[in-house]
Every structure is written in C-alpha cells, then in structure tokens.
Symmetry: D2
Subunit: 299 residues, 4 copies
Amino acid sequence: MSEEKIIDGMQYGFVPNRHLWYFEYYTPGNCGIFMKMNKHLYSAQSKYQRIDIFETDFFGRVFSLDGITMTTEKDDFFYHEMLVHVPMFMHPNPKKVLVIGGGDGGSVREVLKHKSVEKVIMCEIDEMVVEAAKKYLPVTASKLDDPRVELVFEDGSQFVRNFKNEFDVIIIDSTDPTAGEGGHLFTEDFYKACFDALKENGTLSAESEDWLYDGAWLRLAYSRIKKVFPVTKLYLGFMPTYPSGMWGYTFASKGIDPIKDFDPEKVKNFGEELKYYNEEIHKAAFALPTFLKKELENL
Amino acid sequence: MSEEKIIDGMQYGFVPNRHLWYFEYYTPGNCGIFMKMNKHLYSAQSKYQRIDIFETDFFGRVFSLDGITMTTEKDDFFYHEMLVHVPMFMHPNPKKVLVIGGGDGGSVREVLKHKSVEKVIMCEIDEMVVEAAKKYLPVTASKLDDPRVELVFEDGSQFVRNFKNEFDVIIIDSTDPTAGEGGHLFTEDFYKACFDALKENGTLSAESEDWLYDGAWLRLAYSRIKKVFPVTKLYLGFMPTYPSGMWGYTFASKGIDPIKDFDPEKVKNFGEELKYYNEEIHKAAFALPTFLKKELENL
Amino acid sequence: MSEEKIIDGMQYGFVPNRHLWYFEYYTPGNCGIFMKMNKHLYSAQSKYQRIDIFETDFFGRVFSLDGITMTTEKDDFFYHEMLVHVPMFMHPNPKKVLVIGGGDGGSVREVLKHKSVEKVIMCEIDEMVVEAAKKYLPVTASKLDDPRVELVFEDGSQFVRNFKNEFDVIIIDSTDPTAGEGGHLFTEDFYKACFDALKENGTLSAESEDWLYDGAWLRLAYSRIKKVFPVTKLYLGFMPTYPSGMWGYTFASKGIDPIKDFDPEKVKNFGEELKYYNEEIHKAAFALPTFLKKELENL
Amino acid sequence: MSEEKIIDGMQYGFVPNRHLWYFEYYTPGNCGIFMKMNKHLYSAQSKYQRIDIFETDFFGRVFSLDGITMTTEKDDFFYHEMLVHVPMFMHPNPKKVLVIGGGDGGSVREVLKHKSVEKVIMCEIDEMVVEAAKKYLPVTASKLDDPRVELVFEDGSQFVRNFKNEFDVIIIDSTDPTAGEGGHLFTEDFYKACFDALKENGTLSAESEDWLYDGAWLRLAYSRIKKVFPVTKLYLGFMPTYPSGMWGYTFASKGIDPIKDFDPEKVKNFGEELKYYNEEIHKAAFALPTFLKKELENL
C-alpha cells in the first residue's frame, strides 16, 4: 500500500493515489461507507439525478446515483440474483417480465437466464443511466441489447398503468426512495397498478431497503404492498456494499406462496450459473430475525 | 443536522460537532465504515492493543480494538446471539462453558440466558478491555459480575490447554486475527486444544470473519477447525457494523449435527428474550450462497 | 507509517491507530483540514460551546471549540506572538492590559514577557475552557496562575464597559464569530467600549479571521474598528493550522501609528525569547497583498 | 447546504453531491486538506505521475499531481506572482527567461506581463500536464500559446545543461520533490547548471516548499542553492491551498541583492495588473520569522 521513495538521500513515505475518495452517507448522515477511487470514469447530472461511475481496486467499477451506491462489480450479483430469482422461480412459467427501474441492467441479465422468458420490458426513467451503464458497466449491462429486451424510458410508476393482466413477473428495482425519483416507486397506488398489470399467477419482487438505516422505508414498502397483494412476504439477503449489508426485498403474489409452493428441484436443475442464489438460500431468505418478525406483525 | 446562526446580520451555516470521526479501514485498506463520534469516553493502549470507546448518535456506544469495531450498542445482539445460541442450543444440557476472548461481556450475557449453565469461564487476555467494558459498556457487560462467571486474564490459546474433557460448550469470541493478539486464536493447535477440552457432547463456535474482506481468514478458520472436529459447519449472520455485514461463524462438535440434531421446540420454549436468533434463523444460517459453498468444498 | 504483521503465514498490512480523525470544516463547509488524533484527552459541552482537546503526533496537543481549531502546541506561538506583541511593543510603557477571550492562556503568556506589565485581566466567558487549558495545555496556559493575572469569567463585551480610561493595551483574542459566543466580540458597540476603556496612549489588537474563507468577517471587524479608532491597520501573519494559513489581525490606537512610531530597537533589546515575532516581521506584517489593500480601501 | 425532501409524507434530510472528496495528505501522512469535488474533469496516469483536475464550488478548478495540489483557480496567483515577479523585477532588463517545470502555465503567464521579455522557454518534463492544462485550466494556461513561448518537453535538470550564459532569469517551478520527478530539481548539480546558464545579471527563483511539513526540503533547497550562488535569500508568501499556507521561495543571483537593489518605483509603474505582489510585499517577503532565520543561519 505504501511505496518508499529515496531522493537525494532523503527518505519519503509516499502513498500514491491516496487522494480521491467516495463517501456514501447513510441515512442519519453521520455514518457510511468510504472507498478510494482510482479513476472517475463518468460523472453527469441527468434530469433526475447525479450519476457517477468510478474504478476501485477492490470493488471493480462502482455505480452511484446521488451519492448512493447502486452496484459494484464485486457484489452486484448478491443483489440482482436475490431480487430476480425469487419471483422468477416461484412463477410456474414466466414468459413476459416487467423490470421497473434497474437501469444498470443487472436485473435484466438475471431474468434472461430463465429460458421460458420471451420478452422483458425494462422501464427506466433515466436514459442517461442506461447509456452510462452500457458504456461503463459491461458486466452488469451485458444483456441490455438482447433482442428479447425492450427498453422504455418513462416513469415506471406511470408506465405500469398502461397494462392489465399482462405480465408474469414484475421486478421493482428502484433506486433509493431518497435518490432521484425513487420515491414514486414506494407508493400504494403504484403497487396497486402492479397488481393489475400482473396475470393471475403473477409474482412480484421489490427492493425494500435495509432495516438498520432505512427501516421506515422497509416497513412502508412492506405494509403498502401487503394492503394490495394477498401474499406478501419480506425476505433478506446479504449485500455488502449496501447500507448495513442486510438487504430487504418484498415478495408478493396473487396466491403463490414463496415457501409452500417452492420447488427446490427447479433450482437444482436450472442449468444456468448462479453465484449467490440456490434452493437453500431461497428458503433461508424468508427466515427473519425476531426483532424484524415482530415489527412486521405489528404493521 | 445543520443549525443556522445569525450574528450581527450575517447568516452562518453552522454544523456543530461535525469534527470527530472514526474510520475503520477494511482489510484492503482502501474502504471502510465511518462514524461521527459525539464523545470519546475511553482511550488507552493496553499491553496488547489500542482500546477506544466512544458515543455516537446512531449506534450508541461503540467499542473498538486497534481501530476495528468490536461492538456497538445498536447491533451487538446480532453477533453475540448468533455466536452463542447456535452451540448452546445444540448441546443437550450445557453446564460448563468456556468463552475465549469476549472481553466486552456480550457472549457471557447470552450464555447465562441458558438456565442449565452452572459455570462460565471467560478467558480474556486483556484485563483492561474487561475493566473498560464494565465501566463504559453496561449493556454488553451486564453479566460479568454474575456469581457463575469466573474471569481469567490469560492467553486463551494457552489457557485451554489446562483442560481435558471439561467443557460442554466452548465459544471463541476472538478479536480480528490482525488486531491485538487475535491471531493466536486462529491456529490448528489451538483448535486441537479446544477439542480436547470439550466433553463428548461438546459443541463449539468460533467467530470466523467475513468473506468479502477477510475471506482468507474465514477459509483458514473453517479448514483448520475441520481438520480437528468430525462435524464442522460454517454459518452466517447479518452483522451491520462488521465488515460487509455478512459475518461468518464456524460450528463444530464431536458428533452433534447442527441441522439434523436441532430441536426447534427448545428455542420456541426458551423463555428468555432473544432479539435476533430464533429457530428459523438457526436453520437459515447454515444455508450458504453458492460461491461460498463451492469455496468450502474445495478446502 | 505502516507496520506489517505476519500471523501464521499470512501477511497483513497493518496500519495501527488510523481510526480517529478530527475534521475542521472551513466556512463554505466543503473543505477543511484533517488531523489524526492519537488520544482524545478532554471533551465537554460547556454552557457556551463544545470543547475538545486531543493529542496528535505532529501538532502535539490540539484544542478546538465547536470543531474549530483554537491552538496546537506546534504553532500556537505564531498566532499569540503576532496578536500580542504588535500592540504591546507599540505602547510606550504598558502596565495594565486587558485580554478579552484568550481562555487557553497563550495571550497572557506573551503579555507577561513585557516586564513593564503590572496587571493583566483576562476576561473569558467560559470558565471550563480555562480549567481545561490549565489541565491539558500546559504550554499555552503556563502563566495563568501568575500573581499579576486576574481571571474574570464574564462576557467580555459587557465586562469592558465597566472601565473608562483604564487600560494601556486591550487584546481581543476571541474565538471565531461562529463558534460559541464569539460573535459578540465583533460588534461596533463593543469596539467603542474598548476605545473608552483604553487610556490616551492605548493600543489594541483584535484577531480578525482570514481573508479566504472568512473574508466577510475580516472586512467587518476592520471596518467597524475603523469607525471607532483614529488609527486602524490590518496586519497579517502566517498561522498554519488556522484556515488558509493567512491570518488577519487589526491594530488600533488613539494616535500611535504602528509603522511610523515603531522602534525596532525595543524589539532587538527585548531580552525575552520570541520565536516568531521580530522587528522585521512587525513591519512586514503591515504589507498587504494588492487585492486586500483594495478591498480595505473600499470599506 | 442541505436540502429537504418530503416524499410521501416522510421527511428526508438530503445532502446532494456530498460523495466525492479529494484528500491531500501532508508529509507526515496524518493530516492534510480536504475538498469536495463537484466533478472530476480529467484523470490520467502519465509516464511520470498521476494527474487529476476537478471542479469545486469554492476553489474553482483544482489541479493535482500524485495527490498534491498544484494550483486552484482561487489562489494560483498568490504562488505564481511571488515565484515570478521577485526575480523578474530584480533583473534590470529581462529578455530571455527559462521556466523549469511550471506545466500549468501560471509562471509563463506572469513572466509575459514583463514587456521586456522576448522569449520564454518552458521546459516541462510531462507533456500530458501541459495538454491537460491547456484544455482544463484556461485561467492558468492562458499564455502557453503566445508566440514568445517555446515549450520543451524534457527533464529540466538535464535541459538546462545545454546553456551557458544564456538566460536573464530562471524560474524553478517544480512539483513537490516527492511527486513525479520533482526530486531532480532539488540537487546541487542542477543548481550549478542553472548558475552556468544564467548571464552575469541573472536572477533565479525556486519554489522551496513549506517549513512546517516539508522543512527538510526547504532547508535542503536553500542550503544547496547557497553553495552555488553568491546571493541567496529565502522569502515567504501566503499560499492558502499549499501545505501550511506559508510557502517558501529561494531567490538567488550572481550579485544582485533583492532588498538593496530593489527599485519600488519599477513595481509602482508596472502597468500590468498584479493581484498579490506589490513593492511592499516584495520587501516584506524577505522578513523571516525568528525561528526560520535561526535555522537558516545554522545551515
């Protein structure tokens, strides 16, 4: 980490490139994660948010919106596999999928591992995010040009209202409610529109923030989805570069139960490479710590 | 967070107490967690390590050794419940328990929730840690003066060698291998001595670092324990203020299997308050992400 | 700076004590100075302000009010010598001196190097600052127990109104106008009261902030003093641990001119050790950069 | 500084763009300056050094080599005026000037304010610095395309050896001895070659680091130049964004004395706009604090 220089008989402790840092402040504003940036690859203010992509030694490329980490090459699969494969494996035969948000492309990449899928619409409000991801995040955005993918650059909370009984799976891969326009994707109205846009066997997942720093949002997302869907279950996954590392997701459906109706054999025989998600993780994700179970029971 | 002052007609954006910060650098040294400190309560260099305890708004009191976070009042129960209750509930009737390390007292506090326990020896190398914890961490150290507790201030890796067939449960609550003298508690010799000190039905748990930043240590701890114990299983728990939030623990025994031999009814009927651990969490903790399963299979 | 540890065959780059940092944010709030703290010696919230004293490797002990650096053992003499000796050497025979603020004792220490002085009243609003300085800042507070010193714990802006034609020299050693109650010491009323409390040959100095980050306060202090005193001159000194390193002081008198009436021989023959101030520095301090001369001409 | 967002009834303290920071570590490595970056404009690793240019709210554009601040739009004139105008005004009629280093163009800009100048050779080792400065630092690099300027991309410590009795003024505008190849510009051999390349009336200035953090280099530069030149004098200037704000420069000549031979009228009648330097500043800059005078006397 440190390199010594001896110049003209004087020894110098020299620490190169120690000068550029990224600080993500967690909600209360007095704690967070810091990362050294090697190189700032992209930085822009879109109509909706500040976009930054930078290189690090440890995490590879890091993508941030309004100073909130969205993905790193190191651990993006933790998040995208948990968000996508839970509702995808619960659906008996997912053909048509709607991804709301998800501009970096990681959710689409995971959806397309399911061979039954014929079409994915990704509705991302911010076209600049998608352009930047295609250019600078090839690992995450690898499938955005797949012919089965249709990209729509609109407000997902409005776009979903165009459909009734249309999708097999809806994946809400929003930014933080406090970044950009993320808040629109946390309203009851929006969840109701998702319900209507889903077919009878439809399943849904929604990123639901973390308990420690954003517990209010987690409870809000869960309780609002629960008002709309007959089956609503919170599940958890590790996600190292997100606040607290304990990430919340909400599964919802019109009847399918993510535990009772789960077929581990489907996962075992999947054929495609998954790095995080497996049949044991699926079940384990719905086991909640006692404090969290109690909080949800009271909602 | 910010308070405005208007003095003599000039307006000043004034942000009080923004000046004292704690930075924990994770292993690669170019990332980590930061926390604002409200007040530094205790700071000392013991024979073994640098000890700091400080107050924060969000985490309550935080305890750090050599700049590595050991506990915060906010989430100490995540860690201590997972470290302690897994081996404790797996033992049919734990009476005598050895805690190695654990100077803050959190493990002892959890052990004593089990009514069968008659004696806990806590062997902590650094007496100054225990003194500081008693004074400044009342939530964590609450049971260190319980009459069933015997405190020993010695190197646990040596102390355990004094016993053969003595303990029902051994809990290795070490600091990081890189802080203070933590490294001694990660050797095969030491694990062998633990095996010898355990009775036939004995169970053991060992904190085993995190995969993301300290994966080499996690694999080392697991593989060395596996050489010594017939049953060795890694399990995971969320731990927000530890690196990556995905904390590794190793369970080991002379025969008891943490899944097959687990009796969920014992947990359900426990009677004592547990905030994190429950019977579903117990089983879920042994479900490992695919990448980690594969790594362990190759060891 | 970095120490390697090899534990059990694994090499670890280990950087001890890298975890406690002090950040002073300069006025615009998006830049400042950072220092590693070795040990936090004192931390308290008085009635007026947050007080912190900590040890560093490089600066020795550092004293901060509301997160603003007041003194460091490394460079306190830069500031205190410039604040004190300019008005002290300009007075023909200073016997009675009033220090307003200056709770760390550095100004009193410098005043008492002048053998003519019979009495110094130090009026510091915050008694806790003085107590902390006596205990933790022996280098700075070394003369606070001298029999010629009278300590008064009152608001200096009120206290000075008790005197007419009383002092030979008044030294305004305030905190920042934005810290604690510092703002009271930047009003025209207060400067008028200082004028009245000074004898005919009286001289005054006032710390006047820095131009780069706090130029508005520098201009305010200078222009208000100028309304009250017939002779008013800004002077500058280096001060490494204050914002920008270019510190402003205002000299004022009822007639004595700090250049024309200056006698370099007095300084040369002073006899007491001065580390920063000398007869050439005295004159040089009144040479202002062109941009600053122009700003002051327009006030 | 903070902007509130209310989304769906939940209020959020939102601090946009707080995530990208620049930290310059001063020599001992445990203190320094920090600045929030708005936008990273340029980042590259040249053959010699890491180059970064970024935008800030407060300082405008900032240019850094190996994490060491070279110029900011806010205060570049402090440094460049003091480095250039002292030797330029001391020469009776400067026609041919050599700038060694100075890739940002600030020294050339100041040199060309002197109407007598017919030719400036700027010898900068790193062509990428000049290209970046031309593109991103228009304020500093404004005169690099002037027809009187010849740009040479070579090691200045070698290049100067090509000349004997050639230049009227030489300006050593090096980077830090610890950044890039700066160390070559602090050797006695190099200073001897500068002496030889200067004409009889020649004058020279060399940036000489700061006393507080880099005092060893300051003393080294001064003492080596003194071995070579009959007239050698250290002078000081404020420089807010350089370490300590107290910047050292060495003036040297074959006989001209920067105080005795100084003609203030030349400065008064200069005609070109100078923002920092003036005839009083010229003289004041050679007044050294007592501690520094003593250090230099002992060299």
